[in-house]
Symmetry: C2
Subunit: 467 residues, 2 copies
């Protein structure tokens, strides 16, 4: 009747299982050996057959158990609706700039530079060294590895003119990315329900962070010349705000770089109102025709809170940023960082420090500058040729983006979809406005993969814009 002993044992156990409760434990191998007069190997073979049928599951060292038939029944999480209440703020679920892209599309949407612009050999070598070092197995202080704090302080110190006290290493707090820094700084310096002045348009990540922290965003008009300092002063007076968030160097998306005069004006306004300037120096390594001049280097009164990230220029996996702040503000931010993340992985900090202190890092940055220049210029030329209806208010002197004005009657969602259907990813400028958009814009990033396709991409945009 049975071909072999294991088949016989399996058949017997199938009957046993049919009568057993889900989760019940099968008789032990030893007792099955005794019951069926078979060898342990034969019993194991029978159990494996039952497991492969999904009837039982083995938990090594514990035993074999009857498996429940796990039907994919619909779950009812309706009770959570009452428990969760309304969402606290509208936070977009998937910002367009974070969308992954397939290899066969032309990606002008992302904010992250393509791998060919990253210091790949330096990153791999630094991680390999960090794997051998002390940092791989130890816990750094909350404020950061002291050597990395010193490096961030020295970098800003080098830009600090005579007569102004440069930051101390202890003014530096290392964080797991500048997005965390934005959230922390908005929470600590502004707080729920209180006003925060922000350039408009500005970085979507800052808009999301402000929404998360529940601060009341007050938009300050900004363009290729930077923010309007008179509008800034009026907004401080009218709202009683104590903080202004801005990107003074190669702002995302406009590309604006503040002049010395504007920097002076803004600092005066901020000081007069006893307020903070939250400076997001996101493009520190992305100067093309001009170098970055941090506003923070011109202040030693604790008015400028300076955010500096290595993620974009070094590697997305080197998720390391710093906040430089002085006085009680620094204490508040540190206490918040400790409550939020305790510390940043020592491996990431050691790798970051390794990379930025290599002579080859300087060499890499010089090469990067030339690559960004030719990418930017190619995209500018491609737009001029293929998208005659587009208008660039200014060619940015640095950064990674063009901020392209389109005719006012452009149906942006339709245009974005049509381009995507033709394999070109672009983002509607609307995502960069904390309030209503003031015009139809595209933000085009020229640091993505395959710049040789820029003319083709511009052709696609131009064709769909005409319809």
């Amino acid at each position: 009747m049975f071909n072999d002993s294991s088949t016989r044992i399996a058949a017997g156990l199938r009957e046993w299982i049919a009568a057993a409760a889900p989760g019940a434990r099968l008789p032990s191998t030893r007792s099955l050996v005794a019951e069926y007069g078979a060898s342990p190997v034969t019993v194991q073979k029978a159990l494996r057959a039952l497991a492969s049928e999904g009837l039982v599951e083995a938990r090594p060292g514990v035993g074999t158990f009857v498996r429940a038939v796990r039907a994919a029944r619909p779950s009812d999480y309706g009770w959570q609706t009452a428990a969760l209440g309304s969402p606290p703020a509208r936070i977009p679920r998937q910002p367009a700039a974070l969308r992954p892209a397939a290899n066969d599309v032309i990606a002008l949407h992302s904010g992250y530079p393509d791998r060919e612009l990253l210091p790949e050999r330096l990153v791999r070598a630094a991680f390999t060294r960090a794997a051998r070092g002390d940092a791989a197995l130890s816990r750094p202080p909350t404020a950061g590895l002291p050597e990395l704090q010193s490096w961030f302080a020295a970098e800003l110190g080098e830009a600090t003119p005579a007569g102004i006290t440069p930051p101390a290493p202890s003014d530096v707090i290392v964080l797991p990315g500048s997005q965390t820094g934005l959230c922390s700084v908005f929470r600590v310096l502004v707080g729920t329900g209180r006003p925060l002045l922000m350039e408009s348009p500005t970085f979507w990540g800052a808009i999301i962070a402000a929404a998360r922290e529940g601060v009341e965003v007050v938009p300050i008009p900004s363009g290729p010349g930077g923010p309007d300092p008179d509008a800034l002063a009026r907004a401080f007076e009218q709202t009683g705000a104590r903080a202004f968030y801005a990107q003074p160097n190669f702002a995302n998306p406009t590309g604006a770089q503040w002049t010395d005069a504007l920097t002076g004006r803004v600092l005066d306004v901020v000081r007069e109102h006893g307020a903070f300037l939250i400076e997001d120096d996101w493009a520190h390594e992305f100067g093309i025709d001009a170098q970055v001049a941090p506003v923070a280097a011109r202040d030693d009164g604790g008015h400028v809170v300076y955010l500096r990230s290595l993620t974009k220029s070094v590697s997305p996996s080197v998720r390391v940023a710093a906040v430089i702040a002085r006085g009680p503000a620094r204490e508040r931010i540190l206490a918040d960082a400790q409550a939020e993340s305790m510390y940043v992985s020592g491996t990431l900090q050691a790798a970051a420090l390794d990379i930025v202190t290599q002579p080859a890092w300087r060499t890499h940055l010089r090469g990067l500058r030339h690559q960004l220049a030719s990418r930017r210029d190619l995209l500018v030329r491609s737009l001029a040729e293929h998208v005659p209806a587009s208008h660039l208010e200014a060619v940015p002197q640095g950064g990674l983006n063009l901020w392209v004005r389109l005719p006012d009657d452009t149906d942006l969602p339709r245009l974005v979809r049509a381009c995507e259907d033709d394999g070109v990813l672009v983002v509607s400028g609307d995502e960069w406005f904390p309030a209503e958009p003031t015009g139809a814009y595209l933000r085009l990033n020229y640091s993505g993969p395959g710049p040789s396709a820029f003319p083709r991409a511009a052709g696609v945009i131009g064709r769909h814009l005409e319809h």
Copy 2:
């Protein structure tokens, strides 16, 4: 008059500098060569001498500049007092358990296992491999590397009994540490000013996270037998709370592990009140006489939100944790994580996955169990012998801590200081109480360096307790 040319050039430049403004650029090397009739090497020697005196600073590739005398003048950050207002909540600046310790002290205070308990070779090998892989240069999705999501889901799935739907990989959100997870979950599931039920005593990091998020903490008495389910039910009714934070397996600090019956009771209470159980499975790998049985494995209705970290068992530098949640709660947490940190470093995720999927990881965990057993037993014996006035309500079956009751009239701050003066770091149990302490406790961690010194440490505690 001058010993050599470089001294002569330096003297000339000193005069020049005395008349120059801070920050002024010195004449170029070429023009100095011409002016002084000296070689470029001699001019450089003079410039180096001035730099070593602090008079000038060289900026490679740019030039040499007059340095300002940077007197350490006192800074006035008084204006920040008005801008910052009162601190939003009392967050302890430096939790005692995070204090670094010198090599010559006996550290019973920290929550982090000593390096000898970590899988050092696995960690180093995994980082070395990650340095060569794709993750070192790419940006993973916000919710995490799909393979790591699958691993976390499978781990909880293996513990899930028949009849209950195991979590899907998409229910997993990878976070940069469980402290970030606590903040996110408290913020999203509870919210500012709303009540959160918490075991008391409990993990100080959760107390800090609750303070940061401004939730109203409602303490639920808990001890070596876990929380009192009747007190839990009453608190849900009286406060209208929708969430309960707990550590059901080897709670920090009490060491409690919930029985099956208690787990069932708590789940019933939570379900009856349409609420969440926030399960912090901090000690997943630290079972000694018993294994961890996650409560989340017994719920597929979205009531249990499960936090699981790899930081303590793998390495402090592998700062990777996961939240497993279902239904709208999962969507809310993911949106919050995206706004807060965007994503977790791919290198850390790849290294974490590499480590936990090696066969050697299982071997390591078996060895760890034995080491923790002998460390725990030695500390228990040492206390019995040298601190007769101390009382252990229960010897924990897992975890890293003893929760030691002392006589009610113990002056804890004095005892902690006296022990520290004698080279033994301990922490007052007060830090583990979200409300007033119910007794005098020490939390002693037996996973620190040098367990052979436990008897000596107990001797120090016993001696100071008598005085």
